[in-house]
Symmetry: D2
Subunit: 127 residues, 4 copies
Amino acid sequence: MADRDELAIKYFQCTKRERAVFEAGIKLGTVYHQFIGTPVSASNVDSLERAIEEGVKVQPFVEEVTVKIDRKSLRKKRNEFDYQSLTGPMMDVRVTIRISEIRVFAHVRYVEELKYPLMFIERITES
Amino acid sequence: MADRDELAIKYFQCTKRERAVFEAGIKLGTVYHQFIGTPVSASNVDSLERAIEEGVKVQPFVEEVTVKIDRKSLRKKRNEFDYQSLTGPMMDVRVTIRISEIRVFAHVRYVEELKYPLMFIERITES
Amino acid sequence: MADRDELAIKYFQCTKRERAVFEAGIKLGTVYHQFIGTPVSASNVDSLERAIEEGVKVQPFVEEVTVKIDRKSLRKKRNEFDYQSLTGPMMDVRVTIRISEIRVFAHVRYVEELKYPLMFIERITES
Amino acid sequence: MADRDELAIKYFQCTKRERAVFEAGIKLGTVYHQFIGTPVSASNVDSLERAIEEGVKVQPFVEEVTVKIDRKSLRKKRNEFDYQSLTGPMMDVRVTIRISEIRVFAHVRYVEELKYPLMFIERITES
């Protein structure tokens, strides 16, 4: 990695900490828009959660990720036509970005008082 | 299913066989465009294949589906930045649509002589 | 086109009419899943409709396409956070596929009595 | 906006400047993954650029955005089957995020020496 990141690093006019925050935003924007619209039902929700997690993990600087899709919003399949598409409010995603000693903990989830899925930073640590 | 499909059926100005063919096209168009761009690497390719299959299976009239992502086009992860996005030519998807006694076997795969991924109908059976 | 289509045609184990129906399904599946999730508001709805139409038109066998996004479901932007993502029920898309003398008129729209967006074939003509 | 942002702000455990950087990452991740795979050709490239720009503009905190799709990578349509899908390396997107007096200028473009599309921060200003 060293060589390639050395090449990349000069493009960033910001601190390493800001870069980690930026990467966290990229990951949440990516996961949210890549998977919205995917067909989902009670029968594939587990495999979809795992696939999304693993799709996030292959990306740069991702140390950890957990994806939860709200089961309550998945109804039983009542007939041939009854399936749902994954929507933003169903998703709860946490991702930890790590760049050397800096970790950024970011989260997207539906926030009841706001009435929309909020992407936010829960914590930044350096050590 | 009965009731709802009875309601739906009147919208179709075509034969049942044509409807099955139409559904096959919908499924291939859907799977192809939903998942292109998903981050993929050797480490998540299996789970991604399963997730795509299960995402197709939850849709109406799907009897069978198999998804294969070309391993040869997945290189090892060489550094932090090295990941790939799923592209059309990597995908090989077969789907069987069934509407009562009619089955349509459809396929999308990269065809060397055409130089693009072709969606086509391999077989239609009635029995 | 001739040469390439001659190459492609042998893969299809169906009639030309069925192939046209299949293409119609592909187009509706594609447009539906490609654009769901796109940020939309009253201010960009016109340009989004045109972009979707033109994105469909560049695909094979498309003779005509019209895209309408439901304005009633677009509320005014009330604050910095207030934007919407395009959903299936907002979309009304008609596409005409033509393969030589055959035309297939397909449509996706939200159907009130079904409570979901139905993709269906409105008409097939040969002449 | 005030009220809703007041509600949202408490979720962020970071500085306002970091939040602006985070939003810039979200926007680039979103635009990149939302539009990859969209059918594109010389005939719809202008309208697609405008639609992407307007889709970004409706999102929170976006002050400016410019989208350029590489014309050199768009070949003429040679036959019925010849169309392309938008890929990451074709896109050059700049976005300016503004939160009160802070502006973050972010950019994604294909970088020749890296051989991939890099998302990076070009500048942060406060005034």
